[in-house]
């Protein structure tokens, strides 16, 4: 029963192409914090749409099967 409860309290996402399970009710800000990412230096695309407003990260609830791309600037020419 405990195992079932834990399972139901999680949702599966695709983050940068890999499946990741997070607690139900998490926001985008929660996910970034768990990944130890500074929201100021990343850009997030959710289901093909860029999340433009960083101040919305804390209110953006993640949904099951969301496809997230988290990108940043790296060295390049």
């Amino acid at each position: 029963m405990m195992g079932t409860e834990v399972f139901e309290a999680e949702i599966a996402l695709a983050v940068n192409g890999a499946e990741r399970r997070v607690p139900k009710g998490w926001t985008l800000a929660d996910l970034l914090a768990s990944l130890e990412l500074d929201p100021r230096v990343v850009v997030v695309e959710r289901n093909g749409t860029i999340v433009r407003d960083r101040s919305s990260f804390a209110s953006l609830a993640l949904a099951a099967d969301d496809a997230l791309e988290i990108v940043h600037f790296v060295g390049g020419g």
Partner: protein, 285 residues
């Protein structure tokens, strides 16, 4: 009296040239302006391929570049190393120019450009639409298409292209704020393969022409600038040198030397020798 006057005028001329000879006062009569923004250096540099972030920063400082290019990539969630360039590069000190390197279609390049703009620094993009993995030569049809879309969306597009005049003209017409023909393929270090094509593009376009890719050493950079182009963007030529920081400083000097040589106007080429020393006044046999 005649002697005195000529002596005075000689001193006067010497004083005037003393100003010219000082690097601090060797003024470029034309500021380097792209889309209404003036930049302090005609040398733009990439940030890829350095052995360390510390070395990259030191090389960029030595190059004197203001515009530095960056790429957009997925965050490595396993974080084997700190790839985020913004942890090392101060965006208040440098002008970050995001590229769409690695994109093989217009739609992919557009997606990367939009992500780059969402980072919040500027709406500029160094647009690359690559057509071939072996040569990394541009897909000019895709490039033109992506340029049109991004210009419509308010981007300032600096379009990486080949040295074809017609493509360059079309990019300008599509609204690119600068056209960036290659000297030779990306990362090849082969120098400028077609100076005629580069000169022709520069002569025919109104927007700045910035040669991007192929510069391998300081003399390459100097020769490129001697064609009269507005600037150069390079990465591997500095980053892959044995001593990148020293090469960055050499490139800075080469870009300035080439620019001033262009402004000075070179002597005509002759197929015969012309003596530099007087032929009169030779001793009798």
């Amino acid at each position: 009296m005649t002697h005195l006057r000529s002596f005075t005028s000689w001193v006067g001329a010497d004083m005037a040239h003393a100003d010219l000879l000082s690097p601090m006062t060797l003024i470029d009569p034309q500021p380097f302006v792209i889309a209404g923004r003036e930049f302090r250096s005609r040398l733009m540099v990439g940030t890829g391929k350095y052995a360390s972030n510390a070395q990259m920063i030191e090389a960029i400082e030595a190059s004197g570049a203001e515009v530095v290019t960056v790429a957009v990539r997925r965050v490595d969630l396993d974080r084997s190393k700190d790839e985020a360039i913004l942890h090392h590069l101060d965006p208040d000190h440098f002008f970050l120019l995001a590229n769409t390197a690695g994109c093989y279609s217009a739609s992919e390049a557009i997606r990367y450009a939009r992500l780059a703009r969402a980072a919040g620094f500027n709406e500029w993009v160094k647009l690359e639409v690559i057509g071939d993995q072996q040569t990394l030569l541009p897909d000019t049809a895709g490039l033109l298409q992506a340029t049109k879309t991004l210009v419509d969306e308010g981007f300032k597009v600096l379009a990486y292209t080949n040295d074809d005049l017609i493509t360059a003209l079309k990019l300008e017409e599509a609204g690119a704020v600068a056209v960036m023909p290659l000297a030779s393929p990306i990362g090849s270090g082969l120098g400028m393969l077609n100076p005629y094509a580069i000169r022709t593009i520069k002569q025919r376009l109104s927007v700045p022409v910035i040669v991007d890719a192929g510069v391998g050493t300081a003399s390459d950079a100097c020769i490129v600038m001697e064609q009269g182009v507005d600037g150069i963007l390079m990465n591997t030529g500095i980053a892959a040198a044995q001593d990148p920081v020293r090469m960055a400083a050499a490139m800075k000097n080469a870009v300035e030397a080439g620019r001033h040589a262009y402004l000075a106007g070179r002597m005509p080429r002759r197929e015969v020798a012309v003596p530099s020393s007087p032929t009169k006044g030779m001793l009798g046999a």
